[in-house]
């Protein structure tokens, strides 16, 4: 602690108890208290800090805005939390090359706002985009509703400046679309802070769509809405976004935004198509027809930009609005092939019922990326979280068995690292470990994440063996 202060100055290091307790959490449920928090202001600060930690064998845990949903920024093995709140400058908007260079602490939405005067935007739009940082997006390979047609973070990053755990600064890629040698930019994106610290990011900017059509359809059941999603995709339409919400989620969302979501529908689909104006209404018309054929009982088209914004504000604020329903929630992020939606949604429902927990659903139906929000109340005792996690595990197991994934955009973090063997065999994880060892041979970068750890995962392994 004193060494850090000597190295970086008192204004960049936090160590008081009241300081540390507020870096215990992120947007999810796990917590751990750091030994110190550092607020670097430059790449040089980050490099000096990493060298220091390397010398003293101290774990390093990078943190953006702390909106993550898998415990990625939680110092589960102690050490130094590195907050990038003060490295939040948009370095350059290079409209001619369709690129921007940003520091990791820049808020996702701020980049799109800054690019808007050039008719450009940054595509990945996680629901937390008003708050989450681009450094965090790179770490988690974040998605969002509009990544169905346009790709997730990894499809939009072309260059990185990273600091390795020994303090070395490495530049990878740049403004060109590809670079000689291994695609280390692509390898790094989504590595959840376990390979190094990001200090600068070069991203693609994409022209804003000329126009959009946003359609909200209400269905009696989740099944009917799921069938509609499959039918839309099968018709050869790839909308910008297809989102689904169940009744419970709609209740919280409507209370938050008053967008006019019908409260008595079993499921709501939010579908958006964008692109050139020509033909857009034809596509919207086709989607409308498919919705009606699959039993939509009401359909509303957003007539104004404000109405569209309202609908999206509701969808994007859905997790954050869960506080209206329950003091605690545990959100899952499993992915399934979209054709398996109805079946897995029944598993979700069953898991909630078996564990006597309410489950709200709000998710990226077009990608098959589920987000069951398992509601619980920690004030009723710590075993509530265990029950929620047990229900979550049932759902994830079903997702993986359906040929899917443990996580579509939230990351593995410390929340699901013990579950990794469900999806990956020992040799798969061994291959990933080779990458880890190449980047971080000392094993100091965000330990206890992504890979199963013997100490914390023992119980899970034992339970699985039984």
């Amino acid at each position: 602690m004193r060494g850090l202060v000597d190295l970086l100055g008192p204004s960049k290091v936090l160590g008081a108890r009241a300081d540390l307790v507020v870096y215990e959490y992120d947007g999810a449920v796990d917590t751990a208290t750091p030994d110190a928090v550092v607020l670097p202001e430059s790449t040089a600060d980050v490099s000096a800090l990493a060298r220091f930690c390397h010398e003293h064998a101290v774990p390093i845990v990078p943190r953006g805005a702390g909106t993550g949903l898998s415990g990625g920024a939680i110092p589960v093995e102690g050490g130094v939390v590195v907050s990038f709140a003060r490295m939040a400058r948009i370095v350059e908007i290079d409209a001619a090359n369709l690129r921007a260079i940003v520091q990791p602490g820049v808020i996702n939405l701020h980049l799109s706002t800054a690019a808007a005067p050039y008719g450009l935007h940054f595509v990945p739009d996680p629901s937390s985009q008003k708050a989450c940082t681009l450094g965090g997006n790179v770490a988690e390979n974040s998605g969002g509703p509009h990544t169905l047609a346009y790709g997730v973070t990894t499809n939009h990053v072309t260059g990185l400046e990273i600091v390795l755990s020994d303090g070395e600064v490495v530049r990878l890629g740049g403004k060109a679309i590809e670079h000689e040698g291994y695609d280390l930019v692509g390898t790094f994106v989504g590595s959840e802070g376990t390979l190094g610290l990001v200090t600068e990011i070069t991203v693609r900017l994409v022209p804003l769509p000329e126009d959009k059509r946003t359609l909200m359809a209400a269905f009696e059941t989740m099944d009917a809405a799921s069938e509609t999603v499959s039918a839309i995709i099968a018709a050869g339409i790839v909308p910008g976004a297809i989102e689904m919400m169940d009744q419970l989620a709609t209740e919280a969302v409507e209370a938050a935004v008053h967008a006019g979501y019908p409260l008595d529908a079993g499921a709501i689909l939010l579908v958006e198509v964008d692109g050139p104006r020509d033909g857009l209404d034809d596509i919207r018309q086709r989607i409308e027809t498919i919705c009606r054929e699959n039993g939509a009982r009401s359909i509303r088209i957003a007539a104004t930009a404000l109405e569209r914004e309202r609908l999206w504000a509701g969808r994007k604020g859905a997790f954050a609005a869960m506080g209206r329903l329950s003091p605690d929630y545990y959100v899952q992020d499993g992915v399934i092939p979209r054709t398996r939606l109805p079946e897995i949604l029944r598993v979700v429902k069953g898991a909630g019922e078996r564990h006597h927990l309410r489950v709200a659903n709000v998710f990226h139906a077009g990608d098959g990326n589920l987000h069951p929000l398992i509601l619980f109340d920690l004030r009723d005792g710590p075993e509530e979280l265990e029950r929620a996690k047990a229900a979550g595990l049932e759902i994830l197991t079903a997702c993986v068995e359906a040929g899917g994934s443990l996580t579509g955009e939230h990351g593995i973090g410390m929340e699901k690292n013990c579950y990794m063997p469900l999806q990956f065999a020992a040799q798969d994880l061994a291959a990933m470990r080779r990458v880890k060892e190449a980047f971080d041979p000392a094993g100091l970068m965000n330990p206890g994440k992504v890979f199963p750890t013997p100490s914390r995962c023992r119980e899970f392994v034992l339970a699985a063996a039984r």
Binding site: R171, G174, V189, G190, I233, S405, H410
Partner: protein, 386 residues
């Protein structure tokens, strides 16, 4: 094709492939991975002790049209996959060179993209899952069959463009799309390169989203621009109208495109003499780069994927001019923030002109990764980036 004394083997499943690699590792025998044998000109690879052919690793594992994904074995030919997808009204939105004979594994290993990247993304964007046979005898899986997946490291990216230096791609899952209903295109000529690139840039970022935007310069004195679109009829009509407008605004004369792109795409197949330099530069730098290229002694042809900034330049003539030209092009690419390699050169130039004459960023990390996956250094010697 196999030189005397080289052992060739064609494993029929992933485990067998991995076993062969493990044996080669143990015996320190170097290995070359061969798919459709279409890109053997790439890199500095010389003779190896062994060839692992993926011809026995072919076939479609799974195709669920409603999921818009397909899983194939690594040695499957692109053409065979295209036929199978077409029967379901779908296509793999990738137009690499040598598509007639190239295999999916080879296309991924070489990160072999075409002009459609403008619209659908490249290999790295379409690839969502792989199984890789590794020199330690295991088969490692990354990603999966779902379009969104962030569980574990994305080794799909690492393997894309790794030229077989880390492992053999034995299976791949890719995103596919329904075949669009309409297609059209325009071709235009310009007297000046900057005008062609300015028009290309405007078309590439138009809201109407073209499928491909290419610029070509031949030894003749004009610049040619080709822009194509596919999709719903109204959107295609709009895209070609937008393209014509941008062309006209910059003094070009537009006509209906035919199959010009097919010819441009196969430049690597034709450039058997001199040197073919392939660079990726920031898109706004293409015009100046192309201008530099066209002035070179020995300049023959330039083909740019103008929407992506990937430019190929063929230089020919006497060896000194070719070598100087190639080096000048790579230097020029670096100066504008890009990079590149000598993709192909005449056999006798191999000694004089290395494939990757410049150092790349992150070289140390690449070496560590290579050592971690292939500690004995058996795979594709001479194609490793580090």
């Amino acid at each position: 094709m196999t030189a005397i004394g080289i052992r060739a083997a064609a494993p029929t499943d992933a485990a067998e492939c991995a076993r062969m690699l493990a044996e080669a590792s143990r015996d320190r025998r170097t290995v070359r991975v061969v798919g459709g044998m279409t890109k053997s000109y790439i890199g500095d690879v010389g003779d190896t002790d062994t060839e692992v052919r993926t011809s026995g690793l072919a076939g479609i594992v799974d195709h669920v049209p409603a999921d818009l994904t397909v899983t194939v074995v690594g040695g499957t030919r692109m053409a065979d996959l295209a036929d199978a997808l077409a029967r379901a009204g779908q296509f793999l939105p990738l137009d690499p060179p040598h598509a007639d004979h190239a295999t999916i594994g080879g296309i991924i290993a070489a990160n072999s993209n075409g002009f459609w990247r403008a619209r659908y993304g490249g290999v790295r964007d379409l690839l969502i899952g792989t199984r890789i046979a590794l020199p330690d005898g295991t088969v490692a899986r990354s990603g999966g069959r779902v379009v969104k997946n962030v569980a574990g490291y994305d080794l799909n990216k690492l393997i894309t463009g790794s030229f077989g230096t880390l492992g053999v791609i034995v299976e791949a899952t890719l995103k596919v799309l329904p075949v669009p209903t309409a297609r059209d295109g325009v071709v235009a000529t310009f007297a000046r390169g900057p005008d062609a690139f300015a028009a290309a840039s405007a078309i590439a970022r138009a809201a109407s989203r073209p499928e491909a935007v290419a610029v070509e310069r031949t030894a003749r004195d004009d610049w040619r621009l080709i822009a194509t679109a596919r999709g719903a009829a109204a959107a295609v009509a709009r895209a070609t109208a937008d393209a014509r407008r941008e062309i006209k605004a910059r003094g070009g004369s537009a006509a209906i495109a035919a199959d010009e792109l097919d010819e441009l795409r196969e430049l690597p197949a034709r450039a058997t003499d001199g040197a073919l330099v392939r660079v990726a530069v920031p898109i706004a730098a293409q015009s100046a780069f192309a201008d530099t290229a066209a002035r070179l002694e020995g300049f023959a042809t330039l083909v740019a994927d103008a929407a992506s900034g990937v430019v190929r330049v063929h230089v020919r003539g006497d060896d000194d001019a070719v070598t100087r030209g190639a080096e000048a092009l790579l230097l020029a690419a670096r100066m504008v923030g890009g990079g590149g390699r000598v993709e192909r050169r005449a056999e006798h130039l191999r000694a004089r002109l290395p494939a990757s004459p410049t150092r790349t960023n992150g070289g140390l990390l690449m070496r560590r990764i290579k050592d971690a996956f292939d500690p004995a250094g058996i795979l594709e010697p001479g194609r490793s980036p580090a």
